[in-house]
């Protein structure tokens, strides 16, 4: 093996790729050649480090220097100063790691300190396109152990004992699901992976697939052994080209190594995998719809029972698990259920990955033990809210979930606590909102999403959500009444109890939870015709502060409808009957005289 003295890890996750990490890798390769050290320094493209806000990120080992927001122009300096002369380029280090000439390790910085990486253990650590690196990190050892030392029943028992619950949102105990399917007698069974990641605003599964695809492959093979299936499908969103590519590379490599295919590890166990692409339909994340979609049809759900464990894909017994659920499996088998269950709470074991986004400083991917409080995530890991604004609420569970208001910020994040306060764990999207977010508008945003994505098969969802959206529109337009609010509540409860699948049953949640915690904002829209966040355009009116206005005429010239008038050097006024509330005047005024 060649001797390499330094490793340069460059994040190749979607976030960093979007901000140019590919060019950075190429530049590193060029510059290393320039300085003739390309034999001793190795550049590796890894999966997501999680700290997307600071991307593109480059880490140099053995020092562990954490360079953030690296630009292509910076690469030559890193190569010459750091890799050639051994002088760390302090100017490019993430500022929190620099401490009086002393470089702190990654695990000491606030963003990582409280995190526990189980599902993400290899993300940002290994080259996802190289199976040897996965194997070097104990990869495929759990599969070997299962096949050679454990019976299928023992595997299932271990998963049951770990307390692992589904990470796709529902939180169903994984071991119990496998047990059902193992008891179904049939000559053909299937193992499926849900990588549809439908929550708009979440990218946990994507990061696992991009950073550590082999962990999912390994876990699916283990699941196949446990329930007696020899074929699996991974259903991935077509919007995730990098993930699809790395997954395909990983499957090909696993086949080449005999880890997928016939007679794996000479044990007589056969298992193979195929990728199936989604095509942009949220409902296909629902298990029965996902199966119809793999069958090549319109992805409409069907009633359960029969449950997939009895009658699933092509009417054969099938299990479906989420990407992150699978990523935990090898760890459980290798370290034992007991070790796994040490993290977390009584009823929610292990960790959960969240995609932290919205109005927060450290956007990115975080993995914390279940039971960590929302406050810890937002303020300690997330670094708080930008621009000195106030935390208003956090949204979890996407279009099926709800909001957690500021006074519940000390709620521990686990399945049961979140349900109790009217939200849900969901698959891991965690969007932070500040005072500039209108809660009625957010409810409307999610409703527009579900109306758009309703497959139309059942009436409560197809028509009910549409009526609900109409009522919300009335309220944000300023024509709603207090009766509308009550009617919305009734309608929500009707949809919840009568829709066919999870999409419709949970669609009213964003409305119900904002009504529960922010009813006063709804009332304000209706009674005072006011949107305190200044988001609902119909309720805004712009005005000019006569004391601040210098009469420069800039706004009058910019206004597209000629609604502003006034003489030079005299205060201007806005004709609100003409104003279309485009906000151009506010953003052009140099004196801050215009406000809404």
């Amino acid at each position: 093996m060649e001797l390499v003295r330094s490793h340069v890890l460059v994040c190749g996750g979607t976030g960093c790729t979007s901000s140019g990490s590919k060019q950075i890798i190429e530049e590193f390769e060029t510059q290393l050649k320039n300085f003739d050290i390309d034999k001793e320094v190795k550049v590796i493209q890894t999966g997501c480090f999680g700290f997307c806000a600071m991307g593109p990120i480059v880490i140099v080992y053995p020092e562990g220097s954490f360079y953030s927001m690296v630009q292509k122009e910076d690469v030559a300096e890193i190569v010459e100063q750091h890799l050639l002369k051994g002088k760390i380029v302090t100017r490019l280090l993430y500022k929190e790691t620099v401490e009086e000439d002393n470089v702190k390790s990654l695990n000491e910085i606030d963003f990582y300190k409280k995190q526990h990486r189980v599902a993400l253990r290899n993300c940002g650590v290994i080259d996802p396109e190289n199976i040897d690196e996965y194997i070097a990190c104990d990869g495929y050892k759990a599969l070997g152990k299962a096949l050679t030392e454990m019976t299928p029943q023992e595997v299932i028992q271990e998963v049951k004992d770990s307390g692992l619950r589904g990470r796709g949102g529902g939180g169903f105990p994984t071991g119990v699901k496998w047990d059902f399917a193992s008891k179904s007698v049939n000559d053909q069974k299937y193992v499926l992976c849900n990588a549809d990641e439908g929550d708009p605003g979440a990218f946990m599964d994507r990061s696992v697939l991009e950073g550590d695809p082999h962990s999912v492959i390994e876990a699916m093979a283990i699941a196949g052994y446990a329930i007696g299936a020899n074929q699996g499908y991974i259903y991935v969103r077509a919007e995730y080209p990098i993930a699809v590519h790395r997954l395909q590379v990983a499957i090909d490599q696993a086949r080449e190594y005999g880890i997928l295919g016939k007679n794996i590890f000479e044990t007589g166990f056969d298992f193979d995998l195929e990728i199936r692409l989604g095509a942009g339909a949220f409902v296909c994340g629902e298990e029965t719809a996902l199966m119809t979609s793999i069958e090549g049809r319109r992805g409409e759900p069907r009633p359960r029972p029969p449950f997939p464990a009895v009658k699933g894909l092509w009417d054969k017994p099938t299990i479906l698990n989420n990407v992150e659920t699978y990523a935990n499996i090898p760890v459980i088998l290798l370290n034992g259920a007991k070790e796994f269950a040490k993290l977390g709470t009584e009823t929610s074991k292990g960790t959960k990955v969240f995609a932290l986004g919205g109005k927060i400083n450290n956007t990115g991917l975080v993995e914390v033990p279940m039971g960590t409080t929302l406050r810890e995530v937002v303020y300690e890991i997330g670094g708080g809210i930008p621009n000195g604004k106030q935390f208003k609420a956090a949204q979890t569970g996407g279009p099926s979930g709800g909001c957690i208001p500021a006074d519940l910020i000390d709620t521990p994040i686990d399945y049961d606590s979140l349900i109790k306060i009217g939200s849900m764990m969901g698959s891991g999207g965690l969007i932070v909102m500040d005072e500039d977010t209108c809660m009625v508008d957010i409810a409307k945003f999610f409703l527009e999403f579900t109306v758009d994505e309703s497959c139309g098969k059942c009436v409560p969802c197809r028509i009910g959500t549409k009526r609900l959206l109409e009522l919300l529109n009335k309220i944000t337009d300023g024509t709603g009444t207090l009766e509308d609010i009550d009617e919305m509540e009734t309608l929500c409860n009707t949809i919840k109890s009568s829709a066919l699948c999870g999409l419709g049953q949970t669609a009213p949640n964003p409305v119900l939870s904002t009504l529960k915690y922010f009813r006063d904002e709804y009332v304000e829209h209706v009674v005072d015709k006011k949107c305190r966040a200044g988001v609902c355009k119909a309720l805004l009116s712009y005005k000019i502060d006569a004391d601040k206005c210098k009469g420069c005429t800039l706004c009058a010239r910019q206004c597209p409808v000629g609604a502003i008038s006034g003489k030079v050097k005299e205060a201007h006024i806005i004709d609100t009957t003409k104003c279309i509330k485009c906000g151009v005047c506010e953003s052009t005024c140099k004196f801050g005289a215009i406000s809404k």
Partner: protein, 164 residues
Amino acid sequence: MAEKKVPAFQGTKEQEAQLKEVIAKHKDSKGALIPVLHEAQEIYGYLPVEVQTMIAEGLGLSLADVYGVVTFYAQFSLYPKGQYRIAVCLGTACYVKGSGDILDKFKERLGIDVGECTEDGKFSLDATRCIGACGLAPVLTVNDDVYGRLTVDDVDGILEKYGF
């Protein structure tokens, strides 16, 4: 919804040969229709009824089956897209950070609505869901290029880059 005009189909012989190959490759596997549609859209850029008919015949399905699937999934398009496909992310993270205003600005500048294409065929505008780059919100893509950490003021510059 008002009927949109579909331009006359202009598929070439080469494209047809490619499509036949794709159909032959998938014909015998279960659930072949969606993978074939994906590849067909790669070849033609969209899925007009002529292409759907070829696929239906090739896979032994009815045109109604194929049409039903094409119209169910948002990724499949019955209309051609622009040379530059602008897609503004309206996922939650981007929406909260103001991507709605960015989309409005594009509509205003291009004079088209979401799902439409400019007359000269140069730009089409779409609203997408999360593309997984929420850390850079708000984001948009133009073909395969991703732009992040945007403000409304970036719109003109981006359009200029593509020769608007």
